[in-house]
Each structure stands twice: as C-alpha cells, then as structure tokens.
Amino acid sequence: MAMMTDFQFKPPATAPDERADPGRDITCPVSEAEAWEEGMVLRHLSAWYGSFQAIRDVNLLVGPKRVTAVIGPSGCGKSTLIRCLNRMHEVAPKARVAGQVYLRSDDIYESGADPVLVRRRVGMVFQKPNPFPTMSVFDNVAAGLRLNSLFSRRSHLADIVEQGLRRAALWDEVKDKLNRPATELSGGQQQRLCIARALAIEPEVILMDEPCSALDPVATLKIEDLMRDLSATYAIVIVTHNMQQAARVADCTAVMMMAEDRAGEMVEFGATSEVFTNPKEKRTEDYITGRFG
C-alpha cells in the first residue's frame, strides 16, 4: 500500500499535556528500519476462520518503545489481527493465516516456527482478567517462568516476581498478599496481575486486547498510566473500541474497517493526533466523527 511511504515527520498538532515528556522523543511515524530491527512488520496479512475471511491484506509497522492502537467498529477484525501477532489466532478451530508477520526480522509464521517460542516473545493481556484461580498471586506471576526452568524454587523466582509486580504498578498493593489466591484481588488489580504475569517472562512486544473494557474508570486510568510507562521499554499494541482511550495513550493509531464482504482492512495508519484531527481517508473521518460505527 502506498500509504507506507507517504509518512512525513510532523509534530502532533495538539500535544496533550500528559505526553509532554522531555525524555520521549520517539513518536509516530515509525520508520521501516526501526520496525524491522526492533519492532514488528506485518506484510499482506490475511486471516480466516474456516471459509470466512476476517482480515484482508493488512500491512502495518509496529514500532518499538511506543504504543500502537488499533481502532475500528466492532467486528472489523481488530481482535483477530492482534491474535495473529502471537499466533493465538490458530488456536481457534479451522483458523488460517496468510502473509508474513516479522518480529525483529523473524517471520513468526515461517514453516517450522514454533508458536510456543513466539508466544514467549510476544505477550498478551486479555479483555477480561484471567488469573489462574487455583494459584496464589505469586504463583500467577511465576507461572510463565516455571514453564521454562526445571528448578523453579521460590527463592530463585522471588526477585523476578517482585520486579514484574513493580513494573505492573501492583507491588505495593499485593506485597503482603503474595500467597493469597489471585481471585481475592479486585478486577483492576487482577488485570495488572495479568500484566505482571506477561511481563515476568520478558517479552519483546506486549499485546493488549481491550484490556480496560471490563474495568471501572479508576482502574482504567491506572492501566492507561501503566501502558504509558511500559511503552518506554516495550512495543505495545492495544486494541480498543474507545477512541478517547486511543487518543490518550497511543503514539500511533491504525484504523480498521469492515469491507462489504465483512473482511477487515487496514484503512489508515499514522500518528494518533494526525489520525484524529486530520484523517486522510473518508472512512476514517466518518468513523471518528461518529457518522458510522
């Protein structure tokens, strides 16, 4: 798609206060080189459930150390798209993928690639918090770590678990409750626990599928803060149906729309402020102004 080469670096027209961080000079657009080396590149990605095509010919650059939001009306394939990035899509029955997804120049879909290894490098947080109910807070965070080591004694893991919980801004709230069942936490805390669980195995990219849609506004804001902090280190891709949220947290925004045959297509991609104030495509403009979707 020609759009890729049309990017010109332009400072956002209106810079929201929260984002005026002198240390942050990386915003959208993202250069191809950057995405290839440290982020993800999607090339002609299509995905099907059986004979139904959910997304068609998506090209996208996911830049490192920034938040990329995928927005669009419900049913346009946003979730399918994000699940293709860590090969969770194929878990669904009769699921099929075509095209390439490159993670730091490795095609995660090349033949012989093991989804198990891909999912270690690309972590995921789900819409509804899903901690393991039979495990304690500690064991939840350590769950991913225990997969990979034969000797997974508590003493070895305690530091990593603490680190993960700190990075997820949860440590202070749970440090006395590490052995309590994870289900005793509130919804917002459970979601941050899931984030800590994903962080503990040191992924390169973190995917978030509408992570705040099941949470109250206070918890939502906490997680949005967390996202901004995490984006200093990780590439984050977030799916959201909430445009204000995308405007608040994302550096780059990708807009998806449903075509006539209900397949999702990438319609626009650019700096969040650009996409919202100066969209290039009519469909984007219609969606953002609420004319449809």
Binding site: D114, V116, L117, R120, L147, N148, S149, L150
Partner: protein, 280 residues
C-alpha cells in the same frame, strides 16, 4: 531457556499427548474386545429354538431361554410401571413445587440412592416382600428393579422438566389454568421426549441387573408368568447360572443369552439417544 529445556518440553508434550490418545483408544479397544467376544461366542448358538423353547435338562443339547426372556419382560414391565411414574412424580415435586432447600435434599438423596449397591436393594426387598409373601416372585423382582429405577428416573426427569421454558408455565397460569392442569397438560407434554428417553435408559439399566434378582426372582427352569405366586426367571439370572455352571453346553447358551441381552440394552440406549438428539 536453554536448548535442552526446550527439547525436553517438546518431548514431554509429544509423549504425554500420545499417552492420552492411547488411553482413549485403549478404552474403546476394550469395548470392542468385549462386544466382539459376546458377538463371536454368542451368535453361533442363536436360532429360532433359542427364543422359543424352554431349557432342557442339564447335559442335554438344545433348548432355549424363552422363559427367561418372558420373565425379563415381565419383571422389567412391573418395575417400569412402578418406577417410571414414581420417578416422574418425584421429579415434578422437585422441579415444580418444592422449596429450594427441600428440593436440594431430595435431589441429593436421589443422587446418593443411585449409588446404593444393587445387591443391597435385593436383600432389602427380600426382607420386605419375599419373606412376607413366603416365596419368590416376579412382583418382588419388579419392586427391587423399581427401587433401582426410581432415583435414575427422578434425576433425569427433573433435568428434562427444568428444560421446559418458564414462559410455557407463565402463559398457562396467566390464562387462569390451575397449577396441576398446567403441569399435566403443558409442562409434561413439553418435556415428553426427554422423559421417554429417561424412561428408556432406566429400563435398559433395569433389564441388565442381576444381583437384585438373586433373592427376589430366584430363577425358574419352567415357564412361569405368575406375578406373585412362583419364582420367575430372567435373562441376566440365566446368564449367571449357566455361565458359572459346569456344563459346556450351558456356557454356550450363556454367551448367546448375553448376546441377546447386550443387543437389547444397546438398542434401547441407541433409541433413546436418537430420540434425544432429534430436533422439533
């Protein structure tokens, strides 16, 4: 993660999943083995005589199991006549009328009753009926089998009644139909397919029971359709007696009788499945 760890994880995955698949096919294989033997050993003895003749004295060839078949039909018939209405009635009580606590207690008791060993049921009915009557009978056997059918029927019927949408009941009640009429004319007919299925499965279960018959029916070499006067034979009893007896000839008949019994039980089960899965 080291390469060794990764390799070990992949290997464990393949082995464990392979074991699970093996287990599934082992279970199915055992079934095939048992059914195969029953078929193979039993079918050679099946002929018209087998179904129509009475047993010959031990050691003589020929003869059949007609009285056992008749006895099974009679005893299971008596059991069904008692157990199915009682079971549906109990289900109606639990599903439509009882308060939640009482319903829970009855449901729990029924579940636990299904786990009572069938020989215990047999002994209890022996005390209640056989001793009082002074002899073994089809009635006693029927009562014992009915006791076994009751909790099964009650639980499955309750589940079926619960599946009837509440809107059916509400519509009838809003029209002024009385409670009992609603249940009899609306709810039960709506659930009839499930109730019939449950009844079939309970009957299949009762038809195969032997232990409760040991002390209630006793078995009979001769033809008897007497309800309450004499001991009566039944297929499972005959299989037991012939199978554990010393005569080879009887062993063959036991296999044949087993074949008949298994075929009947499976046909009933299959029929109930077909009924349950049909739409509309």
């Amino acid at each position: 993660m080291s390469a060794i760890t990764y390799a070990r994880r992949r290997w464990t995955n393949v082995v464990m999943l392979g074991l699970c698949a093996t287990a599934a096919f082992l279970a199915i294989g055992v079934l095939a083995l048992i059914l195969g033997y029953v078929l193979f050993n039993g079918i050679s003895y099946i002929n018209f005589d087998f179904f129509t003749q009475l047993p010959k004295p031990a050691g003589e060839s020929g003869g059949g199991v007609s009285n056992a078949i008749a006895g099974s039909l009679l005893t299971v018939g008596i059991a069904a006549a008692m157990g199915i209405p009682l079971g549906i009635g109990a289900a109606v009580f639990v599903a439509e009328m009882a308060g939640p606590r009482l319903a829970g207690i009855i449901r729990f008791t029924a579940d636990v009753l299904t786990g009572v060993p069938s020989i215990v049921v047999g002994i209890v009915v022996y005390s209640w009926v056989v001793l009082k009557m002074g002899h073994f009978s089809a009635l006693a056997a029927g009562i014992a089998l009915a006791i076994i059918m009751l909790p099964i029927m009650a639980r499955s019927s309750e589940e079926m009644l619960k599946l009837v949408p509440q809107s059916h009941r509400e519509a009838a009640l809003a029209l002024g139909v009385t409670r009992w009429r609603t249940i009899l004319s609306i709810v039960i007919p709506a659930a009839r397919r499930g109730l019939i299925t449950g009844g079939l499965l309970a009957v299949a279960r009762a038809a195969g029971e032997t232990a409760p018959l040991l002390f209630t029916a006793l078995g009979n070499q001769f033809w008897s359709l007497s309800l309450a006067g004499k001991p009566i034979d039944a297929l499972p009893l005959r299989i037991y007696q012939y199978g554990t007896g010393p005569y080879n000839q009887q062993h063959q008949q036991a296999w044949a009788a087993a074949f008949v019994l298994v075929t009947v039980v499976f046909c009933i089960s299959l029929l109930s499945r077909v009924l349950l899965s049909r739409r509309g």
